[in-house]
Amino acid sequence: MDIENIGFETINLGHGSGGELTRNLLDKIIFSTFSNPYLDKKHDGSIVSFNGKIAISTDSFVITPIFFKGGNIGELAVHGTVNDVAMCGAIPKYLSLAFIIEEGLKVEEFIKIVHSIKKVADESGVLIITGDTKVVERGKGDKIFINTTGFGEVHPKARISVHNIKEGDKILVNGFIAQHGMAIMSEREGLEFESTIESDSTNLNFLVNDLLDEFGEKIRLLRDPTRGGLGTVLNEIANDISKGVFIKEKTIPVEKQVAAACEMLGLDPMYVANEGVFLVIIDPSVEKEVLKLMRNHAKGKNSALIGEITNEHPNKVVMESLIGGKRIVSPLVGEQLPRIC
């Protein structure tokens, strides 16, 4: 889109007034980009049909910086919600999209974000069917906040529930952990360090769909460890099922550069955020087949078996360290804080 044709360079309070400026913003940027039969009606909302059960998930995105290596806030807003719907064992179909913009945001940046949203929504096979745009005074926001709500059809073979998890079930992840959090960390004000670490932000719905097609109820649970990281999600699972989780440090995939950056900053990759990682808990009888399917999929090349469910140490996650010692992996309290020395 040619910015000169938009007629304004920055977004101001008037663009959220509901009047002509708002219409201008919507017509020239939003509707033209996301055009589809639902949105083109320009009604207050959209009416859609579903077959069977519906999975709904919502998420708000307030990340800073809004552009980072490997993505931007717009991509994250689609991937995050698409993945949350997929983790319910559903096939994501539609998204709502709401912006809260701080006045002064450059139109150029806004367009870049909108185009990213369009691109990754197409890749994920979802349509934007309703939305909202508000503008707040300078200082009342942080450039741009985005909320998306996703709607998906539950896969007919899906039986996703923590209550189906049994002792001996295996735990797998689809690839390197801690990429997203460290990519963001490397660009935060005051912490910049040279690296080529990119966010892993991506859609996981097609890999999840393949797993459910192939293995159905043998897939017990799907979870994407975003904020709080793998360590926190494993703790939530252990608590939900009153069983133990046992994992081995040496099997957890951490890319070398990420491991080095974590080491340097005094952070534990187990608690660093991910945006393209999910863990899957499965019936042990299909362990090899699941791993094979995942590794053959573009979104799961570095998949690994990291541990299993046990009746020992209920409610606790225990990790065998590289040198054969054992320790508890506790849930994260607040933000992970870098150490002094």
Binding site: L265, G266, G324, G325, P338, C341
Partner: protein, 360 residues
């Protein structure tokens, strides 16, 4: 990355652990001085791999833990006065007498988390209308960078920068621990990174006066088991020497340029240690000639005095007299989400390390 994989090698670590089991005949209490060592011992599950007779006692070397409560209140007062306060990360959640720095930030304080005090000087340069203070805590390890920030500010003529300093020194703390009647410590693992700065000279008098082995040790699993092996071997053989396990980093004379920078800005004086009290000649104070960079004087906040939480036994933990789990508040009233004292906050604090990682 080399040091990550080589020093976390299962076979090499196991070989030394086997040796420790072989040579241990008596009960030994060994104190690791540094909080980074405590963190690594617990995180890697090393404690349970040692012979029962070798007990590790966790030392006072956690900078966050020994920073006096009143200093946190002083930093909070600066925030409330509109000063930009810059701090290392794990300081911000430590409870002051009323609130933590993090809570003061939520109420509108301009708090920045940094990895280097030099960045705080840049913030001061970019914001000439604001006062910027770096919360300069730590042992000898962080002192050179904090001193350097003052030299940078001086060189660039930046007058809106100062430091709230509370630097403590390792050798006087070791001496205070050894002088305590309740002390059971048979040997020390010296703090590797402190010695990387200061060298080994200060430790010979301690070894000789108290006839106690000190093994300067690193932080990776292999470093730690080797340091423990060297200490046990000395004890079993009835020797007491200063040994350097961490020779790849620690040199006899330390880092001369870092020491020079420290001495330019700081002088040795009495310091208060949280949970331990005042120890003579145990810390660095800003020299008279650099007093305009001393935030306590600049903002007249040196009179804040507050008592410790009476339910917290951090002092006994820091002196190695009690283990975290011997505290009645541990894991109950005192958790990382609601810490009564500093050792439950920092990931290097003995209580937090036990709470997060320990299975027993």
């Amino acid at each position: 990355m080399k040091y990550l994989s080589e020093y976390r090698n299962l076979e090499a670590t196991k070989k030394i652990l086997d040796e420790i089991h072989k040579i241990t005949t008596r009960e030994w209490d060994i104190m690791e001085i540094c909080g980074g060592q405590t963190h690594s011992l617990v995180k890697n599950g090393i404690l349970e791999l040692l012979p029962e007779k070798v007990r590790m006692i966790h030392g006072p070397g956690c900078p966050v833990c020994v920073t006096p409560l009143n200093l946190i209140d002083k930093a909070i007062e600066l925030l409330e006065k509109g000063v930009v306060v810059c701090s290392f990360g794990d300081m911000i959640r430590v409870p002051g007498s009323k609130k933590s720095l993090l809570e003061a930030k939520a109420l509108g304080g301009d708090l920045r988390i940094l990895y280097s005090p030099i960045e705080a000087v840049s913030i001061a340069k970019q914001n000439p209308n604001k006062e910027v203070v770096f919360f300069a805590v730590g042992f000898e390890t962080t002192a050179p960078a904090n001193a350097l920030s003052v030299l940078h500010a001086e060189k660039e003529g930046i007058s809106n920068y100062s430091i709230l300093a509370s630097h403590v020194l390792v050798p006087p703390a070791m001496e205070a621990i050894l002088d305590d009647d309740l002390c059971t410590i048979d040997a020390f693992l010296g703090a590797g990174h402190v010695c990387a700065i200061m060298g080994l000279q200060e430790y010979y008098p301690l070894v000789n006066k108290y006839k106690i082995p000190i093994v300067v040790t690193g932080f990776e699993p292999l470093d730690l088991v080797q340091g423990i092996y060297m200490a046990v071997k000395q004890l079993e053989e009835g020797r007491y020497l200063l040994e350097n396990q961490y020779a790849r980093v620690v040199k006899e004379q330390g880092n001369k340029s870092a020491i020079d920078v420290i001495h330019k800005i700081f002088e040795i004086g009495e310091r208060e240690w949280r949970g331990i009290g005042k120890i003579p000649k145990s810390g660095y104070a800003i020299k008279e000639s650099y007093k305009k960079y001393n935030a306590e004087l600049k903002f007249n906040i040196s009179n804040i005095k507050v008592p410790e939480n009476i339910n917290c036994m951090a002092g006994e933990i820091l002196r190695g007299i009690k283990k975290p789990k011997e505290c009645s508040q541990f894991g109950k009233a005192c958790k990382p989400s609601n810490p009564l004292g500093a050792p439950m906050v920092s990931s290097e604090g003995a209580c937090a390390a036990y709470y997060h990682f320990s299975n027993n």
